[in-house]
Amino acid sequence: MAGNAASLARKGETRFEHRSATRDPLIVRVLVLTVALGFFAIFLLLPLVVVFAEALRKGFETYWAALVDPDAQSAIRLTLLAAAIAVPLNLVFGVSAAWAIAKYQFRGKAFLTTLIDLPFSVSPVIAGLIYVLVFGAQGWFGPWLRENDIRVIFAVPGIVLATVFVTFPFIARELIPLMEQQGSEEEEAAIVLGASGWQTFWRVTLPNIKWGLLYGVILCNARAMGEFGAVSVVSGHVRGETNTMPLHVEILYNEYQFAAAFAVASLLALLALLTIALKSLVEWRSGRTQSREDAP
């Protein structure tokens, strides 16, 4: 514990504030803090506060009615479903990609890593569009799908696909640097001691990456539940059927049901806050185990 506190002091802002060479003059400090916190308040804090204030503007009953509305309920279910499919898929992918990239040397590794990041640099609208081009009525598989009476676009599968696309890199990009940094020595030690590949993965690798994994899952889930643009393109906006929560917010807003729109939005904002809280918790936990390991 003592080592922990010492490392905190070494790391923290006191290191800068207590040394004359790195201490800013009072006037500078006041100015920087005013600008920083003012900017923070207007651009980050205010939008958050407004969501809840607007949601409760017409009283708690209106708020509650908006949430128990059958269309809202179905939107919540669809959002949960999409995340429940997209997150595990990308979890398996993330672990698999990180294993291949971090544990082996092969040509084209850097290129592969860049390709994995690709969905982050593609506009969500284009993420929706590409599936329309593949599965839509005029798309590659459109005629075949129509013959077999399968709907992908303007239906749930399209929403799931778009969600998988936009959350694709989250877990992989969390795990790749983590596993690269941990190296393969522990895995090699396990193999030398007679462990099989699966035993090595479950007993040695997984416990070592669990915090990074959880971190990635939290971020992946937040994006999966909150995605708007991509899902909007492939959804078709059928109330009670192909509406996710963010799409439901849009519909209510465009119908001038502002209080109801903000009520549903407030659920998503709560999700965002929960995400941030969990994320901080994971950072704190993993950071703590990290510094404990560094201690001796």
Binding site: L193, G194, A195, S196, R203
Partner: protein
């Protein structure tokens, strides 16, 4: 178990790590692979373990070809340079790991595992740390736990990669003695990699000197130190004065002068001469020897070290007993003669 490596060749990209290495490691011996970094010693160790595959060549365990045997089946104990202790497991679980991952049919009972692990922890004198996590151990303790973990699977061979590399000087010396004792008790064929000549000479039964992917010399510590087979070995083991000169009429011509050769040499050729500091005598007055001035006298321990410089700017170093130094009463700036009692000549290309 005896080990033989035969014609091992390994390349990483265009870099040749091992160039046709053939070596025998007799049963029960403790052998050091010694050389500068990048000489291929760690690669050779990893190939013996099965962690790396050679491009060409064979590995024989007790005469049987083990080249294609998976590392899991080679029954080697490997101690990693940074120990590779499983950071999320206790010390006990680390040592027990090799027993727990055995196929069910061959896995010992829980009680048997406990007995075995505690026995090993006793052996490395760290039973009291069984419940700690690796992060709570000192470097030397981690090293011993890594060794206990490797021994748990009853290996036929023990391989150690820079076993003392990450430790400070004092712990290093203690552990060295302890490892030697452990080896004398267990008599497992052991190979360790090191770049520290003192460590290799003090600890090993036999030393393999490697340079640029090739074996320079193989022999007992005394042999390799006293009879270096190559210029590289002479330069790498212990300190040495190195002079470039020419053999002419049984004398050695060096810049500024020529001296009588204490060893037989005929013909005329370009050579590099190596003289150990303790083989350099200091004389005064007229006579044979290399004229030099005293630059610095260092009196530390039983041997004193004296540094000289010639008029040509070449530096020399001599080691003499303190008692002898007192008799000489050398003063910095004083002119003396340096007379090699013995030296070793290696031919030099007249490039």
């Amino acid at each position: 178990m005896s080990i033989r490596v035969e014609g091992i060749f390994k390349q990483f990209g265009t870099f040749t790590a091992l160039d046709d290495v053939t070596l025998d490691f007799p049963k029960g011996e403790l052998v050091a692979l010694l050389g500068p970094s990048g000489c291929g010693k760690t690669t050779l160790l990893r190939i013996i373990a099965g962690l790396e595959t050679a491009d060409r060549g064979r590995i024989l365990f007790d005469g049987a070809d083990a080249s294609d045997r998976h590392v899991r089946e080679r029954q080697v104990g490997f101690v990693f340079q940074h120990y590779a202790l499983f950071r999320h497991m206790s010390v006990f679980e680390n040592v027990a790991f090799g027993l727990r991952v055995k196929p069910r049919a061959r896995r010992p009972s829980e009680a048997e595992i406990r007995r075995k692990v505690m026995e090993l922890l006793d052996l490395v004198q760290l039973a009291w740390l069984a419940d700690r996590s690796p992060a709570q151990l000192s470097g030397g303790q981690r090293q011993r736990i890594a060794l206990a973990r490797a021994l748990a699977v009853e290996p036929q061979v023990l391989l150690l990669d820079e076993p003392f590399g990450a430790l400070d000087a004092k712990v290093r010396k203690e552990l060295r003695r302890w490892l030697r004792q452990l080896h004398d008790d267990l008599h497992i064929t052991s190979i360790f990699v090191t770049h520290d000549q003192e460590e290799a000479l003090e600890l090993a039964d036999r030393v393999v000197l490697m340079n640029r992917g090739q074996v320079e010399q193989l022999g007992s510590p005394r042999e390799v130190y006293a009879e270096p087979a190559s210029e590289f070995v002479f330069g790498f083991l212990g300190s040495a004065n190195r002079i470039e000169g020419e053999v002419r009429n049984g004398r050695l011509a060096v810049p500024g002068t020529d001296i009588a050769l204490p060893v037989a040499a005929d013909g005329a050729r370009q050579v590099t001469a190596y003289i150990r500091p303790h083989e350099l005598a200091i004389a005064r007055g007229e006579g044979d020897g290399i004229p030099a001035t005293v630059r610095r006298v260092l009196e530390l321990g039983p041997l004193a070290r004296v540094e000289f410089v010639t008029s040509a700017g070449q530096g020399y170093e001599a080691e003499i007993p303190r008692s002898e130094l007192a008799g000489l009463a050398l003063q910095p700036g004083e002119a003396v003669r340096l007379v090699p009692r013995t030296l070793r000549l290696f031919p030099r290309d007249a490039a």
